[in-house]
Point group: C2
Chain length 333, copies 2
Amino acid sequence: MGLSENATIAAIREELGEAGRSRIEVGIGDDAALWQPSRSDRSAISTDAFVDGIHFRRATTPLDRIGARAIAASVSDLAAMGARPRLATVALGVPGDFTLEDIRLLYRGIARAATEQGVAVAGGDSTASPVLSLAVTAIGEVRASHVKRRDGARLGDTIAVTGPLGASAAGLRALDDLRLLDEPLRGRAIDAYENARARVPEGRWLAGSSHVRAMIDCSDGLGRDCARLAAASGVGILLDRIPVAPEIAAVALATGENAEELALAGGEDYELIVAIATPAFAHLQRRFQKRFGRELLAVGRCDAQAGVRWWRSGSATPVDRYGWDHFEVGETQ
Amino acid sequence: MGLSENATIAAIREELGEAGRSRIEVGIGDDAALWQPSRSDRSAISTDAFVDGIHFRRATTPLDRIGARAIAASVSDLAAMGARPRLATVALGVPGDFTLEDIRLLYRGIARAATEQGVAVAGGDSTASPVLSLAVTAIGEVRASHVKRRDGARLGDTIAVTGPLGASAAGLRALDDLRLLDEPLRGRAIDAYENARARVPEGRWLAGSSHVRAMIDCSDGLGRDCARLAAASGVGILLDRIPVAPEIAAVALATGENAEELALAGGEDYELIVAIATPAFAHLQRRFQKRFGRELLAVGRCDAQAGVRWWRSGSATPVDRYGWDHFEVGETQ
């Protein structure tokens, strides 16, 4: 017995509750959802796909967390433009063994994350699929003068991140091997992975500063996302400090790996990587600390060399091999 | 050897050409794409998912046609709201055997359909996947007073469609069995399936009339989509004429099936189903004919009975069994 479309839509509607209604004039159930865009702002759109076995593992992560993470990851792209999220749609690929309770649990997580991150869920589509997959499109708005692209970094700019890196990667490792970490670090690591949040207020705040020249979110690891920012801006980046989250430091201690290497490659922390005019950095850092109670961490500097290099033990090593590529990951399975 | 993300994005960018640039301020390659929404209009969003083996068959349909059909299907939802399409994003699930040439062919079709239907492709996401899948999100704009929802039909309204039905279903049958039809009907049927176009100008024109009370696109078959419109509007629909496309009539002749039943169940023609105040129908029909050189075809009437029924051979038969459900289709595979 399969899921009927009507029962599925009814369950989705019920789980979304207010998250499916607020700020949308025509929501789930019509041909399209409607909203009134802000007159003075640009609209921003970002689409991300998540496939079981590649972006998450249904075997180890509860469905509500999978749904919540998909929302957070999509919203994070808007945060990196300085945008305020408004609504999202979800295209769901439903595997043959999925029950109505599975649909409910998944959408419970989607609704929770959507409410937390201030985005309404404006419907989408559901279809049978060989594996669980989600394609989330998030729409946001940003004042034209506040837009932060990837290509604005300049020679001499300071590269900073909005928080330490690797906690999410530590969570993924802890889920794969529950003996790897002891409590409370294991719980904190898994929580960082399962309850990742996009840095929306931080992104909007940073976007308001003319000293912030470029932003990108750290979804695929500091090395890889810095490489994207550097390539778009036509600069190189020399990293001289990798801020290591305590969770990934504990993993490194347990396995004998290098904590900084793990944090560099980690990904899915959804911190923002920011290029800031260096003369303004210290002042911006103080204001950021005051506003968010957390440090804006300098990790390196834009220079005229090619690519991203990491200054360690007295020499600069290219970071090309760190981070990951969804295609390559997919291909190896 | 797998596809690298950089090579894939470069190929997509090249194939999209102008379709990936026009009317988008920041396009493919940044965290999000930006556009300036029209100040006086509502924005409309629709997301559709397409999976190999369920919505199309890679074995029988060329990749450019698969891409083009996905765009047309998404844009059709906007047409059914009376909206003008502006941009679309594509989340692509790439199977392991896909080559860069496959990506190019798929995006060539996406670019062609996007250009034809007036929508810019604002990027998206690509990821490895067990089967080819596309999730397309289309964004459009519509004047608030022109919005046509599903729930506006009233007792006594005339139900009409913008063209005869079943040509696309005939094409699908012809692809499965090449001996089923002779030329030129075979070619015309396959063309109707592979080169389906959304009724965007017709939708916008109809949306401008206050006598048009509700619209929905005919993506899952007249029976099923009428049932959705009827349920949303709180009315019943009695169908008394099924306009049969010559291609499906020829299939029926070849197989001994009933042509009207095939046309009723067909789907994927992307004609619009329209509820029109009956006193205004004849006049609107004349104006439609003059404007589009094609007839607006009356198929039935809204009444106070439950559900959708088809008046044939002197009695009214419920049409519940016609049309199809993507979940059920998926489940039977």
